[in-house]
């Protein structure tokens, strides 16, 4: 018996914890934190074992995947299964989801300690969130994936609205739910199209090239296009991206989970799962790449002047997800073109490029999970300390939060793409894939996308370090001063009663359960990119169609590498000059009349918030009013008319009920006489005929 045969237990462990905490958490002293830890932690251990086996040893008989399933529904030629499907992509997601989730739960113990009884709700929802995300990753067909997909959406709604008594949080939760719902409906349409095309949604049938080649390619393209719509909603891509910045209303740990492990990564995972189908319709691949590129650049610009620390990170997530879609889309396009190329050598080269782009996108998914979880949890630590999210009020925190500032610096360097740190490897790989795509197919689209990617890289470096310098560098801000004073008093007042609590505050830092995960994630943010040096490298382990071993020479010999590093350093330098050295006056530039409109445009998120509100308040509400009118007047009118007539005729008819026996008997006798006459007439008529 192989360990991966037990993989079906992985999602059940957090779900069992979900039930236990949900029903009994209120009686526990820590409101279920321990149970949640055990549930998620054991899922992590099992997931890591399974993933290790899948990535290193492979499966029995040299198969590319492992599947366990049973028949769920079999109706009218349609077959639907329930089961698990493990391949290298699943393995990667298992590692990322379970590991980050476990660290977030550990962190939560410290971060949520002052939340009292509502911690039960928190741990319940977190366990469900992790469980369904693991279920989503392990699903062996698109319908099962869709079921978990919806549950993930539900959990994010619940958790974003954790502090539902705050109107902003309540509306952010609703917004997240409704906006992703648009994508979900598109996903469902895509599912129905695929189901009618293939008669099944099982991965092992759908991924068979012979089967795919035998179906209507137009329907296939349509189905994939709609399914990508689901990804757009879930992964907050243009034009459905606007829910993610608002989702910052939830607890920071939830943001970390949504951004790094669950929810938004589901969209990327879906595209990676669709990859064997996407290569048959390269145009959808190109569409994905364009959406990704546009989103990456647009979100990066919005992060430039965001006043809130978490919102900067939210925009950066959207932007980095854009990178992933850019890479996956490019990969699908290249591979698809490669399959249509008759020239064998050229076709092989295109397929290799496609496979590398595919791997690069997933590589970035993994690295991003680690450094984004790190950045969010560090931001949580900062917010825990200063009790504000306003960047302007922070500043000078480096003295007080040595560990946090260091790990956040590591995370920022990583996302900016400084060599050796993880972000560098994947981002460089993505950019070079996109650039090479423009060369090989002589299409200006990819050149433009590459350019957007490079600009995004520059902007990323700039806004991340703007955030870092504004938080930790420079003068002490109001919130910093206030926090250091109250912390001092706090230590004095509580030192006698709570010995260990005082210990924590003496460091002027977050408690150990918060710093521990930060340090682990910091190590990964530095080191996760170095997997390229292990064995066949990332693209030699997780590949599609063609395995391509990693080569350092190729990266060192490519001018693109130096360009991306240069761009990152330029961004950091500009941020340093502006926000640390104050050589560049950001305020003056912002208030310059020619820049001001653009500055406000970014603050207003390109008007998307307004646009959403317009659609919600005017279009949808107007339509609802019309429907409401129709319902009240036409539908209800018909129903009321019928009932009014019935009541009226009843009112008139009941007058017959006189209560006089003789009138009743008169009616009976009259009826009998009439019946006799009728029978006579009928008999006569029948006889005549």
């Amino acid at each position: 018996m192989q360990i991966y045969e037990l993989a079906w237990i992985i999602p059940l462990l957090p779900l069992v914890a979900f039930l236990i905490v949900g029903f009994l958490g209120g009686k526990m002293k820590d409101k279920g934190a321990t149970v949640a830890l055990v549930g998620v932690g054991s899922a992590m251990v099992l997931a890591l074992l399974v993933a290790y086996q899948a990535l290193t040893a492979g499966f029995d008989g040299g198969a590319r995947y492992f599947e366990q399933s049973f028949n769920w529904v079999s109706v009218g030629g349609y077959n639907l299964d329930l089961g698990i499907y493990i391949d290298t992509v699943t393995a990667l997601l298992l590692i990322v989801v379970s590991f980050v989730a476990a660290l977030v739960v550990i962190y939560s113990v410290g971060y949520m300690h002052d939340q009292g009884d509502r911690r039960r709700r928190y741990y319940t929802e977190i366990c469900l969130f992790v469980g369904v995300m693991l279920g989503l990753v392990l699903a062996n067909n698109f319908l099962q994936l869709f079921i978990f997909w919806e549950l993930v959406g539900l959990c994010s709604y619940l958790l974003i609205g954790f502090w539902f008594e705050r109107p902003a949080a309540a509306s952010a939760a609703k917004k997240a739910f409704l906006v992703t719902r648009i994508g979900d409906v598109m996903f469902m349409v895509g599912l129905i199209v695929l189901l009618t095309t293939f008669k099944t949604l099982d991965f092992h049938t759908l991924f068979d090239p012979a089967v795919i080649a035998g179906v209507d390619q137009g329907m296939l393209g349509l189905g994939l296009f709609f399914m990508f719509g689901g990804s757009i909603g879930k992964s907050a891509q243009f034009p459905l991206h606007d829910w993610l910045p608002d989702a910052m209303e939830g607890p920071t740990t939830v943001s970390a989970l949504i951004h790094a492990a669950t929810m938004v990564k589901a969209g990327v995972y879906l595209v990676a799962r669709m990859f064997p189908l996407l290569i048959f319709v390269p145009n959808v691949g190109m569409f994905i790449a364009i959406i990704g590129g546009v989103t990456a650049l647009m979100a990066a610009t919005m992060a430039l002047n965001s006043p809130l620390i978490k919102r900067v990170l939210a925009y950066s997530t959207i932007s980095q997800l854009g990178y992933m879609f850019l890479s996956l889309g490019t990969g699908a396009y290249l591979f698809g073109i490669g399959m249509q190329t008759p020239d064998l050598a050229a076709a092989e080269a295109l397929k290799v490029a496609g496979s590398i782009a595919f791997a690069a996108g997933l590589f970035h998914l993994m690295n991003h999970a680690f450094f984004k979880a790190l950045l969010f949890l560090s931001a949580g630590s900062v917010i825990h300390y200063v009790h504000t999210e306003e960047l302007k009020l922070m500043g000078g925190l480096r003295k007080h939060m040595k560990v946090t500032s260091t790990v956040m610096l590591i995370g920022s360097l990583s996302i900016a793409g400084i060599p050796i740190l993880s972000g560098f490897w994947s981002k460089d790989e993505i950019l070079s894939s996109v650039f090479n795509a423009s060369g090989s197919t002589t299409q200006w689209v990819f050149l433009l996308l590459w350019l957007m990617g490079v600009i995004t890289a520059f902007l990323t470096a700039f806004y991340m370090f703007r955030m870092w310098f504004m938080t930790f560098g420079g003068e002490e801000g109001e919130a910093t001063k206030h926090a250091t004073q109250t912390k001092g008093e706090h230590v004095g007042a509580h030192a006698d009663e709570h010995g260990h609590a005082a210990d924590v505050h003496e460091h002027h830092e977050a408690p150990l359960s918060m710093l521990g995960p930060l340090v682990v994630l910091a190590i990964l943010a530095v080191g996760s990119g170095l997997v390229v040096f292990i064995g066949q490298g990332f693209s030699g382990t997780i590949w599609f169609g063609v395995a391509e071993a990693f080569s350092l020479d190729k990266i060192l010999g490519d001018w693109l590498t130096y360009l991306s590093v240069l761009v990152a350093i330029a961004g950091i330098t500009l941020a340093w000059l502006t926000y640390s050295k104050k050589k560049v006056d950001a305020g003056a530039i912002a208030s310059n009349p020619s820049v001001r409109p653009f500055y406000n445009l970014l603050l207003n998120r390109y008007g998307f918030t307004k646009g959403y509100n317009f659609i919600g308040e005017k279009v949808v509400y107007g339509f609802s009013l019309a429907v409401d009118w129709f319902d009240r007047n036409v539908i209800d009118g018909i129903v009321n008319l019928i009932s009014r007539d019935l009541i009226g005729s009843g009112k008139r008819l009941r007058k017959m009920q006189t209560g006089l026996v003789q009138s009743y008997s008169a009616v009976i006798i009259g009826g009998v006489v009439a019946l006799i006459i009728l029978l006579y007439v009928l008999g006569y008529v029948l006889k005549v005929i």
């Binding site: 209560g659 006089l660 026996v661 006798i669």
Partner: protein, 100 residues
Amino acid sequence: MIPLEYFLILSSILFVIGIVGVLTKKNAIIVLMSIEIMLNAANINFVAFATYNNDPKGYMFALFSIGIAAAEVAVGLAILLNLNRLKDTVHVDDLNSMRW
């Protein structure tokens, strides 16, 4: 032998008299009596047909019918007696409490 038609005409006349009595008389006791007349009209038919068809089942039905009529009258008179005690009337037009 008296022809069958004579019996049928007699019973029809009795039946119509009964109907007119039931529909027009206001005294509940007379209504009850009219019902008895209608029943007896039917009995005459039973007996007449039984004799002409040589089938004794008809006599049997007539006897049954007479027995049931006796029972019915007993019940009916009991109801009327109680009505008279409660409402102080046996006038059918006054007994209209089961109306809309």
